[in-house]
Symmetry: C3
């Protein structure tokens, strides 16, 4: 963004004045300014307003809105309005309506409803983006482009089927290659003509919703679908860039949202932005991990928190209020993990349709004398004071966790060995252990450069893509510590098993062979029994879900199973490889094991915990221009004493703080040092 | 009905002799007479028999049945036979088959299978009603018309879509008005042509089955669907009335059945009738409430119990037998709440298809030596003795509960704040408290005249329709006591929020402002803490589901919350308004609170409990010609002692009873005084 | 089979070399021979390979495979390859794709995907079988034909609808007869033209998935569907027999698989084969019962175990490994119940698609140094030693349990009295009691000759087909002991109730009348109270699900209910009938009652338990040429002492064993005497 325009943390949110009579607008402006906000995301759902029919475009209302924003010192995060197509278009061109996973042609309604392969949709969405960019390219309120809204979902229509075949030709070249990589000799699925291939949904290869008979086609369709939506995004991106090469373009992502490969998307985004909607019972460390994942999409660059709710959501089953202080706390949590903005959905609550019970800066009562408004305005005031201090600051981590969307798809498409294995949960177990220890983590892709890290963890690296094993070997050989787990190294990028013994391409670096994989019933556990102590790690720990039955082929056996017929077989191994070490955690351990294990590894490598970490207290650090900004956040409702060690100046109070310091319930400090 | 024909409580039920060989009929007659029955509902599912093809009508069998009934002194509740269309019609005119909520075109089968918008269905159903009325208008057995059967269900076909657009034009006049009331600027749903509007089902606006993206269209479609089926009913009604202006017409309703707005239907019915099928675990007070709701449909007029099972149902998961005495007890419960008939499904059990394990007067064994037959015959004998004594008698209530179908639809279509909120359950909580106290209740509509009541309760009056708030204010000003609850006064009749502060149009009469609405997780509770005693009401009570965070704007704060960040905020308020009082119950309380609270209000207003009420003992009163008929019903399996106070003569035993009197397990007394 | 070719227990499994490069094949041969195997099921899913387009057939690869097998001394169980049609055929002839229960036309994918009524499918499947038979009829490797694979599923397409009408015409002759037997006067379903009849799926008569409005049509459709698939089988059978009249033909069945009436299928199979895939928590007695049912399909003839997994499955939710020894134990369990083969799916694990995590002789690691391979090779070695000793040996049972697929369909289509009633579970309760007692059981059809049995049990004989009651009466009159239960004797073969009193046609032999049937809620129980002792059977027992309220009409009342309003009514009766006795168990008792009750009956009739039976130890006997082979199998993980009485020679160790003998955990003895 043009920081000459605004050099502070962006503060604002989604604003839909077109839903209201213009007489309401001045009051909106007064209250938005009163709350200290300076940015509004506008035009998200205006397609039907801007283009009332196939040939007419009408920007009158949007002109007024943009001008009003500017006159009130508020910048625009200007959306391209393609998040929901107009009803007239659905009627005239039914091809823009999707066919769902159950094979049903949808009708007009809802939101994520455009077929990404539709030429009509692509033509008109790009045309709209182009016209908007042309019209507002020099508007002084324009700060940022926002393409469409929360891309997502899948389509299985005939147009998609045709596009899928083109995509497959590009990927495989020949049917022989496709047949080989999909292993179509199995169940006699050999294709002799591209036209024989149909999308894998409930009418063809899927069963029980999320499982599939042919992982190969389902995996490729997931890629195709993610790519197809990305193409739609890129077409709009190009249309915008043609007019405004210097205005950054984003689209709002959704954290660990499964269907889109955000690492691939990130390459085409100028800045990452995302919408953070935890439930009241989402673990704090899960939210933290998701922020770090979003930060990792562009190698640690700051991102935008595009949406969160000031208080209540509407689409959960039980929509609790955010307790006093929680909105502020969670806002700073975003900043603590790399956000350079705090933005809300929504600035004024709508009065009709499904989001009218979603929280907003301006509630239905319409005035500022509400708890929610007060909390927003207090935060606004704090952010003004912070100025540009931490804008652009970055985290520095010596530990990385590898994360991959295609790996997740493949694991969760798998028929066997267990439905209990959820990729994100396994990743979160490792993240959470480090979070509780106060160790900063970078979430990186399977393609990331690992050289900056002392420890790299790849939980359930089921799919080993070309070149990945080599890079892991090189990393380890050069002194890195690599950790992976059960059910890793099993398949190639098309879900074909690497024969010759699990963990396949990772076998050499790990120095083990996994002969069998046992699946445990829900509630069933085994034990990890430490052979010797590993630092302070000793004794027995519970484990569950899957147990690899492994043999050492050179690795040291650090722990063994404590029960069942594979009692005594290795459960934790360490392979010295070149200058480094590679660990294999053969099962899914309880939390205390992972905290103990990772704690020892970090300590041995001199990776220190951030000061102040304790139960319910989260600590992160961002650094900029040689200054450190320590975020200390108390998720407990009660005050706690935290030990800040050397400390510094708390930017939120201007107080000098050090040593043992009281931190209020749900309180936050940003200690500059 | 023509009481010169039959001046006693109707006793009988559904009878389908056309399913049997005629040789069986004389035995039917003998046993029906033996059981003391005098009415048979016939011809319910005979369309295929009466009209074997498009041009032929054949009434031969029905003639025989009607004549046989008359010869045996049995009256006919004569159905129009349009409850299920013939297979030939479905084949020839597929338009009569519905499209379901999932968007699937149905085929022939089942029961509720005619599209209400089909011109073919309307033409032939009316033609059949017309022919039947013409043929039997002077038949001496004819007592009552029964249109179709248990109207219900929804259709989403293209014919319905077209009819819906016509209905919308009539309601809104212009698309501008519709767009405004549906708030279609939200998510860019603006309609520019009526033809763009499609029915809201799972292919368009619905999600997770019962929730919707656009409450406006879903609410209107629910109205349209109820109206469409009502139109089908009215067309048949008119055809019957043309021939027999004096024969009463009914159709059998289904209590709290959600899809049909029975208050609207009742205006077009000469007499209300309904089918009572409680489960073995349905609370007795729920059945009582439903009877009172049916009585309330026509302002307290007696209704007909059209169907109940003599013993077993077939379509529940676990179909328990009615224990000895239960059929009699529940029959009198219906009478106690206003029924002037006791009728069964079915007089003889079918031998094939899905209802063959549903109870009947004549079981598969075929003779009268069964427990079920004996109990039926004993009841028949009692009813003969009662004669016309209580026919037409009415309840007299000083307390009313307001109930509304559209309000229910709107609440349950809502996205947020909680899926736990079920309208009927909340209404039942208030009804049950009064039931346990022995206070008679009238169930009234949002449009009813309230002036006769000392207390009016409107649980969760979420939707305030035009004029309703004014009438509530006038009622309260004139000395009435009005009670409403959390999540009331929120929207107008099209689910648009009334801005300016909840509870919107009810805010003035209640003297409060509800700033926020907190949703509690399942199992989570807060506390209602009484500030002072209200009569005997004091101490703390549990509450759940939703908690409004309210501020008094003049109302007395009678109780506050005991926990969480809104501890100390009002949980129960009373606003003195003119001569009356308006109470706001800000959350969903446990039963003991409601019994204490409503008990105090009733006592203060001199509304006395009926004598004899105690745990498991239900008491109601019907009055007629200055005489009182006290129904005392023991739902316990064991005998109890009840205090009848002054007492009178028990019509079922001719004994004089007063003071403490023993009442057998599942026993009933009807005390005339 | 031609036992001159191979006179030992077949040992081998499914083998799909066409999925692999030919360079892998020699290693396959080496390892298969190394494991002691001698048969491979080949060509199961090769249709797309053999027939790449409509006119081309290519047997080159199959020729090589067959020759290779022969050169390595391995016989072929040669499949006809019609288990999955080619993609090109689905594209060119969409008629071969099914319409599912939800009314959705399927696309290419999955496995059971051919419409059984499709003329195209029938033409090409028969043509393929014919060509294969012609080509390999004289191949020296050919031992056995394997038609298609695991026939199953249903189709509801228009071709099936048309074929169903033809099937109905053949069954009923006239629409009058059909209307009568389906009781279509109910709900006005009378059909006037055959074309009006549509398949009963979720679009017509079905509701909640497994229930139906019209049992008659649903039952006939289940028969039609089973018959249609059987026709497909028979057409292939005939094509094979034309070329090889002496080579036995089978298709692999699936135990208690519901949709196919295997008694009807068995008539057209030369030898029964089936696939045994118990879960880790399947009761051992359930697997035993299923083996006995498969043996009963052809009146006790030995069958083939066509598939089991060497270790792990893939399609269960949690795919546990078979613990060491379990594969061997369960293999011998099959033999103990009548199998003459032990075969696996699969010999080499595929590397792609959904079965890649299913166990195999040759795992992904590709060598023989695995636990699974070792166990397979050890078993192979044992089987070689056994030679032809027990080939063709038979069980001898004095107790039979009657089982019927149509009876199951009818019970589970029923609307009422309870969804808790599952036919197979009730049958298993009786089987399990006898299993725990060590009593050998034959599973027989409703049409079987009963004269050889001392005791015949027909749990929940709901449907009494023509002639069955007469045969039961004759059997009992001649001295047999007949036992049936609640909810028996209710309907005829078309689900029409037999009027005049339950249990209908069985009433005379049982000497009772069941007046009512009470359904109990989940968790609710009643008691069976013994009046006098029946041998050692005395005291009280729990019962649940359904309770018939019966009256004796001559039967002795042995036990009564202990609770509820039918306390004191008969719960167990015995009717002396001619030389025999007929028992009625009026409810579903707990296991201890059935063990006590059946134990007494067996003891009184001199039916002795097999030696060695105790908790977790299963014992069966096969006899041949006057020799007895006692299988003693320890399902416990720990060793036990079993009392073998006279004993004999354990064929697996060549040791003489008698009296109290230790048997290892999961150990097996085959004692010849």
């Amino acid at each position: 963004m043009d920081t000459t325009k605004l050099s502070k943390m962006l503060y604002g949110g989604d604003y839909n004045p077109e839903q209201w009579d213009e007489s309401v607008w001045p009051e909106d402006m007064r209250m938005i300014r009163l709350s200290g906000m300076d940015i509004a995301t506008v035009n998200v759902f205006s397609w039907a307003m801007l283009q009332p029919d196939e040939v007419t475009y009408n920007f009158e209302t949007l002109d007024k809105i943009m001008d009003m924003l500017h006159q009130n010192g508020i910048f625009a995060c200007l959306a391209t309005a393609t998040g929901a197509h107009p009803a007239w278009m659905a009627r005239k061109y039914p091809e823009i309506l999707r066919v769902d996973f159950d094979g049903r042609k949808r009708k007009f309604g809802g939101r994520h409803n455009s077929c990404p392969s539709s030429e009509v949709y692509r033509k008109y969405s790009v045309q709209l983006a182009d016209k908007i960019a042309e019209r507002y390219k020099d508007h002084p309120a324009l700060l940022l482009w926002h393409v469409s809204n929360e891309y997502g979902g899948e389509c299985y229509c005939d147009n998609c089927a045709a596009a899928f075949r083109v995509w497959l030709r590009q990927k495989y070249g020949t049917l022989d290659k496709l047949n080989e990589q999909w292993n179509t000799r199995f169940w006699g699925h050999t294709f002799y003509d591209w036209e024989e291939i149909v999308p894998p949904n409930i009418l063809s290869e899927a069963w029980h919703g999320d499982r599939t008979n042919f992982q190969g086609i389902s995996l490729d369709y997931a890629r195709f679908n993610s790519d197809g939506l990305l193409d739609c995004y890129k077409l709009e991106y190009d249309a915008l860039k043609k007019h405004t090469p210097d205005v950054p373009v984003t689209t709002n992502l959704m954290g660990t949202y499964k269907p889109l490969d955000y690492f691939k998307w990130a390459k085409h985004m100028d800045i990452i932005s995302w919408d953070n909607y935890p439930s009241a019972d989402t673990p704090f460390s899960f939210t933290a991990m998701t922020h770090d994942l979003m930060r990792g999409l562009k190698d640690g660059a700051p991102f935008l928190l595009m949406e969160q709710t000031p208080s209540q959501q509407n689409w959960q089953a039980y929509n609790t209020l955010k307790r006093p202080g929680v909105m502020r706390l969670w806002s700073y949590q975003a900043v603590a993990h790399g956000a350079d903005s705090i933005m809300f959905f929504q600035l004024r609550r709508s009065i009709g349709a499904c989001e009218k019970y979603h929280g907003a800066l301006i509630e239905h009562v319409g005035h500022e004398h509400t708890r929610v408004f007060r909390e927003c305005a207090e935060l606004g005031s704090e952010l003004s004071k912070l100025g540009d201090k931490i804008l652009g600051a970055r985290a520095k981590s010596k530990v990385a966790i590898m994360y991959d969307w295609e790996n997740r798809w493949a694991i969760e498409f798998s028929s066997g060995p267990t439905v209990a294995l959820k990729y994100v949960d396994e990743v979160h177990k490792y993240y959470d252990a480090l979070y509780q220890l106060g160790i900063s983590v970078d979430m990186v892709s399977f393609e990331s450069d690992l050289s900056a890290y002392d420890i790299v963890i790849a939980p359930v690296m089921y799919m080993v893509k070309p070149g990945v094993a080599d890079r892991i070997e090189a990393y380890t050989k050069n002194g890195g510590t690599f950790i992976t787990t059960f059910f890793s190294g099993i398949v190639n990028e098309n879900d074909l098993v690497t024969v010759g013994g699990y963990p396949g391409e990772l076998r050499k670096v790990l120095g083990i062979w996994a002969e069998e994989i046992d699946a445990l019933f829900p509630g069933q556990t085994n034990k990890i029994v430490m052979k010797d102590t590993l630092g302070n790690l000793q004794g027995e720990y519970s484990c569950s879900i899957l147990c690899d039955l492994i043999h050492s082929e050179g690795a040291d056996v650090l722990a063994v199973y404590g029960e069942d017929f594979y009692q005594g077989m290795p459960a934790l191994t360490r392979n010295r490889f070149g200058q480094g070490e590679a660990y294999y955690v053969a099962t899914s351990p309880e939390a205390s094991f992972l905290q103990g294990f990772l704690g020892e590894l970090c300590e041995a490598r001199g990776i220190a915990a951030l000061p102040g970490v304790q139960s319910g207290v989260e600590v992160t650090e961002r650094v900029k221009d040689g200054r450190s900004y320590l975020f200390v956040m108390n998720h407990n409702a009660e005050a706690v004493n935290v030990d800040l060690k050397d400390g510094g100046v708390d930017l939120l109070t201007d107080r000098s703080v050090s040593g043992v310091t009281e931190l209020a319930g749900r309180g936050v400090m940003i200690v500059e040092a």
